[in-house]
């Protein structure tokens, strides 16, 4: 793919999109910027946290392109409500708050073809309300459903022609799980490396999960 704009050009209104990244590391900012410019709306966004003010992710939600946000944090850091907090209070964006590990596991389940699983996390809390609870071997678990997406956007450090990905440090976070759970997975990377550059036992995201790669050398 020549550009981020090309890579996301076919994302339609109403699409469900996963976006990797944690505390800024691994955020696909070039793809997100292109998505803001593209203007697709009524999106369901699956991303661990709301982006701090000024980030590409915050621009996407602030622009009203997101109808629903599934995340483990939607809290701004400022003393005033963020645009997202205002949209949420006004009922213009729906929030589904999920414990971060359950969030990761729901995505992992989606990628692995499972429909749902029982986890002990959130049992006895407000976040378990309305969810099916069930005892196994004397402990209570809640049912959580898998998450899948039409598109996954992620950032990695480098890719080969087969789509194998390597990440820098903590860039990895939700990348491998989301790559597997997205019907179309789009990676932005800093570099294309030769096929054979990755040690076979050290391919963090195998190319089988990756559909499009955008090279943005200034990322590195």
């Amino acid at each position: 793919m020549k550009s981020a704009a090309d890579a996301i050009a076919d994302i339609p209104d109403g699409a469900t999109i996963m976006v990797s990244g944690f505390q800024g590391s691994g955020m696909p900012n070039a793809l997100l910027r292109a998505l803001v410019d593209h203007g697709a709306k009524d999106l369901t966004l699956i991303c661990n946290g709301a982006g701090p003010h000024g980030t590409q992710q915050a621009r996407l939600t602030d622009a009203g392109q997101v109808r629903k946000l599934i995340c483990s944090s939607a809290r701004g850091r400022s003393d005033e409500p963020t645009p997202l907090e205002r949209l949420w209070r006004a009922g213009e964006i729906a929030l589904e708050l999920v414990p971060q590990g359950t969030f990761a596991e729901r995505i992992r389940a989606g990628g692995a073809g499972l429909a749902a699983f029982y986890t002990p996390v959130s049992v006895g809390t407000d976040l378990a309300k309305g969810k099916e609870a069930r005892d196994f071997d004397g402990r209570t678990y809640v049912l959580e459903t898998a998450l899948k997406a039409d598109f996954t956007l992620l950032r990695a450090d480098r890719a080969d022609r087969l789509g194998n990905l390597g990440y820098r440090g903590t860039q990895i976070n939700f990348g491998p799980a989301m790559a597997a759970a997205g019907a179309t997975t789009i990676a932005e990377v800093g570099e294309i490396v030769e096929v054979g550059s990755f040690a076979p036992e050290c391919v963090q995201t195998p190319g089988i999960f990756v559909d499009r790669v955008v090279v943005l050398p200034d990322l590195r």
């Binding site: 590990g101 596991e105 996390v121 006895g124 809390t125």
Partner: protein
């Protein structure tokens, strides 16, 4: 009566972490425990964004935006560290491989319930992060917090008024005034700062609290 400083609380909590433990430190006060781990113990710090084996905080010239802990702080790796994805990192937590998690809290109840995620703020967006996963999954949950709110309200209570993070999981609480165990019989003070009477402690505690017969003096070096 001399309450412990925030730094001293974290120092004291660090002394109770056994050699060989895998530990996850929550955002805020708990993460400062890393600064006081006894040098003769091998304690491996875990971060839910995918690090097993956090090293010292990064200096300015080491700081790498792609090497951050769960709080977003720039960190280093210790030799032998592993970097994994978030699903694997939380698998370690919920799968019972974290020996101890130290977390902050608004309140802890005498049955081990605690609340640390929903501040019931009038307009702020919700935030849960990894708190519930750590609370439900770690082998032992310990809390670090001030004994009372800024307004002097007890944080150790009979029943949490804030929404729970998990029911019945807290085993020990480190405060500026005391180390308190959560037992089947309720709160038991194991250490109290010098000059604080059992009566004064009870006044600052929102639930019955027993002072252990072998209760020691809670102290820490000047830090």
């Amino acid at each position: 009566m001399q309450p412990l400083s925030r730094t001293q609380i974290t120092w004291r909590a660090a002394q109770d972490i056994a050699d060989g433990s895998y530990v996850n430190l929550g955002i805020g006060l708990p993460v400062l425990v890393a600064n006081h781990l006894p040098a003769d113990r091998e304690i491996i710090l875990h971060s839910e964004n995918g690090i097993v084996g956090i090293g010292p905080a990064a200096s300015d010239d080491q700081a790498d935006p792609d090497l951050v802990d769960a709080g977003g702080q720039r960190v280093t790796l210790r030799p032998g560290a592993a970097l994994v994805d978030s699903a694997a990192a939380f698998g370690m937590i919920v799968g019972g491989n974290i020996d101890i998690t130290l977390l902050g809290a608004f309140q802890v109840a005498s049955n081990g319930d605690f609340a640390n995620w929903d501040s019931m703020h009038p307009w702020k967006g919700p935030l849960v992060g990894g708190a519930m996963d750590l609370a439900a999954g770690a082998r032992e949950v310990r809390v670090i917090m001030q004994h009372t709110t800024k307004e002097g309200e007890p944080r150790l209570v009979t029943q949490c008024s804030y929404p729970l993070t998990a029911p019945g999981v807290v085993k020990r609480i480190y405060t500026d005034l005391a180390i308190v165990d959560v037992t089947a019989e309720g709160f038991i003070a194991r250490e109290i700062v010098a000059g604080l009477t059992p009566e004064a402690l009870s006044e600052k505690t929102g639930a019955p609290i027993v002072v252990a017969s072998n209760c020691a003096t809670l102290s820490a070096p000047d830090l």
